[in-house]
């Protein structure tokens, strides 16, 4: 039993570290984790869940705005990009945020092709992050179920 917990904990640590190293997460995610405690044990997963809901909604808005045959209202696209940039920043979704920064510039330049491409990337990116975090949360569950404690992962 002990070695299972230790194994899972090590797996968890490595996984979380890799998420930071690969740029999926930044220090704002660490900040969110620090706000979680026994009284609010699901805080991070709840916030991230809201974030992913936001992604679905905003990506939908952007797709619709870009789907106008004729004139595309880039400011409308930009408005949704701005919102997504904000919420991705607030949860530490580093790659999504980075894409939004590019996306914003593409909107300003009214670069249609660029925007369409970027939107596709955003779509892939948030879904990838969602899957990765799901794996992370699953590992946490496994650790707890095995009788262990989820380790604090020191990012430095």
């Amino acid at each position: 039993m002990d070695s299972l917990v230790a194994q899972l904990q090590m797996q968890y640590r490595n996984y979380v570290l890799s998420l930071y190293q690969q740029g999926f997460l930044d220090d704002q995610f660490t900040e969110l984790k620090s706000l979680q405690d026994d009284g609010s044990p699901d805080f991070v997963s709840e916030v991230l869940s809201l974030f992913f809901d936001d992604c679905v909604k905003l990506v939908g808005n952007m797709a619709r705005a870009l789907d106008q045959t004729g004139t595309v209202d880039f400011s409308q696209v930009g408005a949704s990009v701005h919102q997504l940039k904000g919420s991705s920043s607030s949860v530490g979704a580093k790659r999504v945020k980075g894409l939004c920064i590019n996306f914003k510039e593409l909107c300003e330049a009214k670069n249609y092709e660029g925007c369409v491409r970027c939107l596709q990337q955003v779509d892939i990116e948030y879904k990838t992050l969602k899957a990765k975090l799901q794996d992370m949360f699953n590992l946490e569950k496994q650790i707890v179920q095995a009788g262990g404690i989820v380790p604090q992962v020191d990012i430095k």
Binding site: S34, F43, L50, Q83, S89, E105
Partner: protein
């Protein structure tokens, strides 16, 4: 400090009186600090709410300036006269919101007799000095750069538990640590409702009666319209100084051409 997210936390008065002979100033004589948080983003609302709860504040979170005014009873003059004064100790609002910006909300609060004394803090994802100045000059207590962190909120909390008259000079120094941009904006001659009853927020540099707003700065259009931060055009091309890695998270972002929310 208890972190149960609720209201049953150690009160600052209890903390201060433990083993201390003399208190520097009496803590607020209330059970809880009540904060009104305003942000159109649900994610941000949840986060700010958590940050505030952890620092022992009671929180009411609303999604727009209008709802904030409604909550405060300021949307209807008659109603506010009837209401027993709602106890709000701090208002923290996002700057960029559709319908009514945080700046406009700030102005309305400072124009009201019931709530003008309540400290108002503005949050924004963009570190634009003109914006910061404009808010401070209109009476904002502080300006936080998003994403907001616990350290930021703890700092705010400290305003409410001690009788500190933070001068604007100190705040601006903190915020513009690495910013060389000049922000001399032509003061339009409009009547200003701000008066000397804002002891905490007088900027020594500019006079109270010069709200530095261009008349175009009305964010009343819905999300889908281009929203222009005209003042940013006025700035000379800003040589972005490298971000300073210290306590105030001053992150510089190159402003693209206007026309979008920022």
């Amino acid at each position: 400090m208890a972190r149960d997210g609720g209201v049953s936390c150690l009160r600052s008065s209890e903390m201060m009186s433990v083993g201390i002979g003399k208190m520097e100033s009496p803590p607020l004589e209330l059970d809880e600090v009540h904060v009104l948080a305003v942000d159109d983003s649900l994610v941000d609302r949840i986060v700010i709410e958590r940050l505030l709860r952890i620092t022992s504040c009671k929180v009411t979170a609303v999604d727009s300036g209008w709802r904030a005014l409604e909550f405060l009873g300021l949307d209807n003059e008659k109603a506010s006269a009837e209401l027993d004064r709602l106890k709000v100790d701090l208002i923290i609002t996002d700057y960029c919101m559709p319908g009514m910006t945080g700046y406009e909300l700030l102005k309305k609060i400072k124009e009201s007799s019931s709530f003008r004394q309540v400290p108002v803090v503005i949050m924004s994802s963009e570190n634009v000095l003109t914006r910061i100045d404009r808010c401070l000059e209109e009476g904002a207590e502080d300006f936080l750069l998003k994403p907001v962190k616990l350290a930021d909120v703890k700092r705010l909390r400290s305003y409410l538990t001690r009788d500190v008259k933070l001068s604007n000079a100190n705040k601006r120094k903190l915020l513009e640590h690495s910013v060389p941009i000049q922000t001399s904006l032509p003061p339009p001659s409009s009547p200003d409702s701000s008066d000397s009853s804002r002891p905490l927020t007088n900027s020594p540099e500019s006079s109270d009666s010069s709200p530095p707003l261009s008349p175009v700065e009305i964010f009343s259009s819905p999300l889908s319209s281009p929203i222009d931060d005209e003042d940013d055009d006025v700035l000379p091309s800003s040589p972005e100084s490298s971000p300073t890695p210290e306590e105030s998270p001053v992150r510089r972002q190159k402003m693209g051409s206007p026309g979008l929310l920022d």
